[in-house]
């Protein structure tokens, strides 16, 4: 608990430092009209259009997103929840598919040799290219987005899972053979528990990737209720309200970090009691 509080505190310190750095850049090269002094430089990146003030971004959460609409903060939180649901679906699909493949591969060298190159190749195809196809196949909607997100998440789980399932000491497997145990017993009582630390490492990568996948998946699906839709929208109308896009980016990051933290909590609970090195 103490460690968790400390890492949360250092996280906030870093966020604070970034905000300060952001404003220092603006003080040095921002628009003369919005700075307390004439900045010594004129940097295009640091203009109020490209880098709105931190307080303007913060204030935008309370302002209506559209005329007479609810505040931007409410809109973005709802969008964040919507996208998180898709990402969670993608995470679960991806984790199950990834672990399933790893279990198949660990039992069949033949299938491993035949299929692993395609698993690797799948990740070289940009998700932007895959997403529209999936949307056409599944006619858009929540499921299509989850499938697109799963496309990003299964890969680390397969690779780490395979490694973890192979991690037990060969003598541990011999020991199990000497008990005349079935391969199901070996899987459930030796391979999977041994793979757990590897899997959690992959789940953490997959959790953040699933949010990226969900946001990208929303774009070709025409889904307007999620963060992808919000980012697209605020991007199109950037000039009329630069802080809105930045606010959407912040919410997207919070969703990703929150998902990561959720997996981390699961990891700590699940691996409790093991050697200190694992936890």
């Amino acid at each position: 608990m103490f460690r968790a509080a400390r890492s949360a505190a250092s996280f906030l310190v870093v966020i604070g430092a970034l905000a300060v750095l952001w404003e220092v850049v603006k003080l040095l090269g921002g628009d003369p009209s919005s700075e307390p002094w004439p900045p010594p430089f004129q940097w295009t990146v640091a203009s109020d259009l490209n880098m709105p003030h931190v307080w303007e971004i913060a204030a935008s959460f309370a302002e209506p997103a559209q005329r007479n609409g609810p505040p931007l903060g409410v809109v973005l939180v709802n969008a964040g929840i919507f996208t998180f649901r898709e990402a969670f679906g993608g995470f679960v699909f991806g984790a199950l598919l990834g672990l399933g493949l790893a279990i198949v591969f660990v039992h069949s060298r033949l299938l491993e040799r035949a299929l692993v190159p395609y698993v690797v190749a799948s990740q070289t195809v940009p998700i932007i290219a895959i997403a529209p196809v999936v949307v056409i196949w599944l006619r858009g909607g929540w499921l299509a987005v989850a499938v697109i997100s799963a496309y990003l998440t299964f890969f680390p789980v397969t690779i780490a899972g395979l490694r973890g399932l192979r991690s037990p000491d060969p003598r541990a497997l011999e020991l199990m053979r000497s008990y005349a145990s079935t391969s199901r017993d070996i899987l459930l009582k030796v391979r999977l528990p041994a793979a757990a630390p590897y899997l959690f490492a992959a789940f953490k990568v997959a959790a953040t990737a699933s949010v990226v996948g969900a946001i990208i998946g929303e774009l070709p699906s025409g889904i307007r209720d999620g963060l992808g839709g919000a980012i697209l929208n605020f991007n199109q109308f950037y000039v009329s309200g630069p802080p809105k896009l930045w606010a959407a980016i912040i919410v997207a990051a919070v969703v990703g970090i929150g998902f990561f933290a959720l997996v981390r909590v699961g990891e700590v609970l699940f691996l409790r009691g093991r050697t200190a090195a694992d936890a």
Binding site: A180, K189, R274
Partner: protein
């Protein structure tokens, strides 16, 4: 001979094929009577661990037959006649001590309470009562090895196969565990096949020492160790004990001459 628990007949073991063919064991004949404590000793790479693994059906002979309790070694493994202990404890670090000892019982569909009772009894046997809920990494090396022994004994195997179980432990722990192992052997009446590098350990523990040659391994002689039972600390000071150590050493060096009372040589 009817009482033989293990009967190895004309066994050869060859690793690899073609040009890489390496003969590991040659013409092994070995009878192990019920309740015996047999040590396999020989130079490094002589195939003593391979022989142990053959008996335990973890690998198969190239030629010859192995019978265990009147069955094939394969059948015996499926019947769970073996308890295995390796040089490393090979405990599962996500299971408590108790959970590790219960693991083999989970395969044989023993019910939960019977399993827990049996595990506690085995932990008492290796004098680890009170450590049930600890995790393996919280124990010393010697204690971990005792957990491994308790686990191997949990389902009352007819035969205990031990591959240098105390090889990684310090001398004092090793001597203490030797005595404990003898006590457990007496209490359970199980047959033990024990691989070791240490001549004194082999002589101290065993009813028979099988002396093996360098690769390809053959059994040069099965030496019965006629020292009084039960063995204890006094055994280590017995003159006959040194006599047997010398005899095993000389057989290992390839000399047949028996020189009784050569205690000075052994002690040096």
């Amino acid at each position: 001979m009817i009482d033989s628990v293990v009967r190895v007949r004309g066994v050869d073991k060859v690793f690899g094929a073609g040009a890489d063919k390496t003969p590991a064991l040659q013409q092994i004949d070995l009878e192990i009577p019920k309740g015996a404590f047999v040590s396999l000793i020989g130079p490094s790479g002589c195939g003593k661990s391979t022989l142990l693994r053959l008996i335990g059906d973890l690998t198969q002979p190239s030629v010859g037959t192995i019978e265990v309790n009147g069955k094939t070694a394969h059948r015996a493994r499926l019947d769970r006649d073996y308890g295995m202990v390796f040089q490393a404890p090979v405990l599962f670090d996500w299971r408590t001590v108790q959970g590790n000892v219960e693991l083999p019982l989970e395969m044989s569909a023993t019910d939960r309470t019977a399993r827990a009772d049996r595990a506690r009894a085995m932990l008492a046997l290796v004098e680890l009562t009170g450590f049930e809920r600890r995790y393996p990494w919280q124990l010393s090396g010697g204690m971990q090895q005792r957990v491994a022994i308790a686990r191997a004994l949990s389902f009352e195997p007819a035969i205990l196969l031990m591959d240098e179980p105390f090889g990684a432990l310090d001398e004092m722990t090793r001597e203490r565990l030797n005595l404990e192992l003898l006590r457990i052997w007496k209490q359970t009446g199980t047959t033990i096949v024990f691989v070791t590098h240490s001549v004194p350990e082999a002589v101290f523990l065993s009813t028979h020492v099988a002396v093996m040659s360098a690769r390809p391994g053959r059994i040069l002689e099965l030496i019965p160790v006629e020292l009084p039972q039960p063995r204890n600390d006094l055994t280590r000071e017995d003159e006959r004990y040194f006599g047997f150590i010398t005899r095993v050493r000389e057989r290992l060096r390839g000399r047949d001459v028996m020189r009784p009372g050569a205690a000075e040589v052994a002690a040096s």
